[in-house]
Amino acid sequence: MTRGRVPWPLVIPAALGLAFLVLPPAGLVLRAPWSTLGARLAEPQVLAALRLSLVTATLATGLCLLLGVPLAWALARGGFRGRNLVRALVTVPLVLPPVVGGVALLTVLGRNGIVGRWLEAAFGVTLPFSTAGVVLAEAFVAMPFLVISVEGALRGVDPRYEEAAATLGASRWTIFRRVTLPMVAPGVAAGAILCWARALGEFGATITFAGNFPGRTQTMPLAVYLALETDPQAAIVLSLVLLAVCTAILALLRDRWVSGP
């Protein structure tokens, strides 16, 4: 289909949809205390929170790619029984309230958790209240976005290319690496961006599992929440910073990696 005029039955709902998504952030921009913006940005705690947010969201996305792409492949191509059940399980973190997700992580990876107890005894590693804990909480909440996007992309791939590669003697691992992965790259990129954005905005699981300590586990959403308690204006500024940085990075990446036709 060529690009052209949007048919009119779609115009009104599309415009309403856009307004619904754009107006609330625009409200933030209108209410922002612009005069004190510069001074707030220079506060070391704000920069620490911003840096921590960007670093942890990126690490969480890396972890999700490492684990999520193979999982998506298994769901799309694997010939095992109970695949529908596994697919449903993958989406559980999407429906779970993030705070409950944080408690769930504590029961497994906490100091008294099933795995966490062993981690502490064997390696002296405790995840709660650590930056690693933030990464895990974000990855837990964000990974389903990646898995679902990549699985969808894999299902859309014409299997004849893979079959052709197989008839030419390529191993399954080579096919995955040289044929499948390049074909689903746009889907992986889109999923990674969704995943990163979700990780960046993560609040509930992070504060429950990793706690809140400036410079170590206090990401931007946590800083925003606490600022809201005493100084709503500061909270608006912090939200705008997060919004601006996030939008800028996504716009750049989109042009570079997932530019459509």
Binding site: V103, L106, T107, G110, R111, N112, P128, F129, I207, T208, A210, G211, N212, F213, P214, T217, Q218, L222, Y225, L226, A227, E229, T230, P232
Partner: protein, 253 residues
């Protein structure tokens, strides 16, 4: 076929509309008192709500329990509340400044901090001094919320320096970390330890007297039920109300 679908949709719409109408008026023409109260009042106020409904047939009491400052913000922004009970002065002050209190706020309860220790007391905490030990994992409320401000005041009065592992967003979050054993100890209100029902132990300490939280209550202007709002405030400050609060661990003025 389209008729059948339409009929189904219409029936669903009627059912939805009537459900919404029923939810909206909260019972057959009865009055509803809406009380905004600090989260730490959940148990005692729920009980007092039942007492009030028994003595005022046809009147329903509806609660919104949350952090005091969040509730104050909602009231200032025009939330339909009849009574506000806060866990500190500053939240009530915000509401008073916005001219939403219908009478002068009255202090009806006080809450003091205690040290909460995790099940089995893995940190071996006996006193406030033990919290300064680096090997003890301590969580506190963030300084921005009332329990955090009180904790810092008490620690300053005691001359104890604590490096917390986390600064939590509210007192229940501190309690959760202690109850699950993620932290060895935390500073919470005595009422929170009481509500946790024996799973965490509370240790009193004298410096808590330097950081006692006053709980003010006031009926609000623009109340839909001003008479019942005043009656609920009277119940809270009555002997019956004081008994319910004392039972939950509150000090009384």
């Amino acid at each position: 076929m389209s008729d059948r679908v339409f009929g189904k949709t219409a029936r669903a719409a009627v059912a939805l509309a009537s459900a919404l109408a029923a939810a909206g008026c909260g019972g057959a023409g009865g009055a509803t008192v809406t009380v905004f109260a600090a989260a730490s009042l959940t148990e005692s106020f729920t009980e007092l709500g039942r007492v009030f409904e028994r003595s005022h047939p046809g009147v329903k009491v509806r609660f919104s329990f949350a952090g005091s400052s969040a509730l104050a913000r909602q009231i200032v922004d025009g939330a339909p509340a009849d009574v506000f009970a806060a866990a500190d002065h500053s939240a009530m002050q915000a509401v008073t400044d916005a001219r939403r209190t219908a009478a002068a706020p009255r202090i009806f309860a006080r809450n003091r901090l205690v040290i909460a220790t995790a099940p089995g007391d893995p940190g071996g905490v006996r006193s406030l001094r033990d919290l300064a030990d680096r090997r003890v994992t301590v969580v506190l409320c963030a300084a921005q919320v009332p329990c955090g401000a009180a904790a810092r005041e008490a620690l300053r009065a005691a001359g104890v320096q604590v490096a917390p592992a986390s600064e939590e967003q509210d007192v229940k979050a501190v309690l959760t970390k202690v109850r699950m054993g993620e932290a060895d100890a935390g500073l919470v209100y005595r009422t929170d330890v009481r509500a946790a029902g024996g799973r965490v132990r509370g240790i009193d300490f004298p410096e808590a007297a330097h950081a006692v939280n006053d709980y003010p209550i006031a009926p609000l202007t623009g109340a839909s039920e001003p008479r019942h709002a005043r009656a609920f405030v009277s119940l809270v400050t009555s002997a019956r109300g004081r008994a319910a609060l004392a039972e939950r661990g509150f000090d009384l003025p």
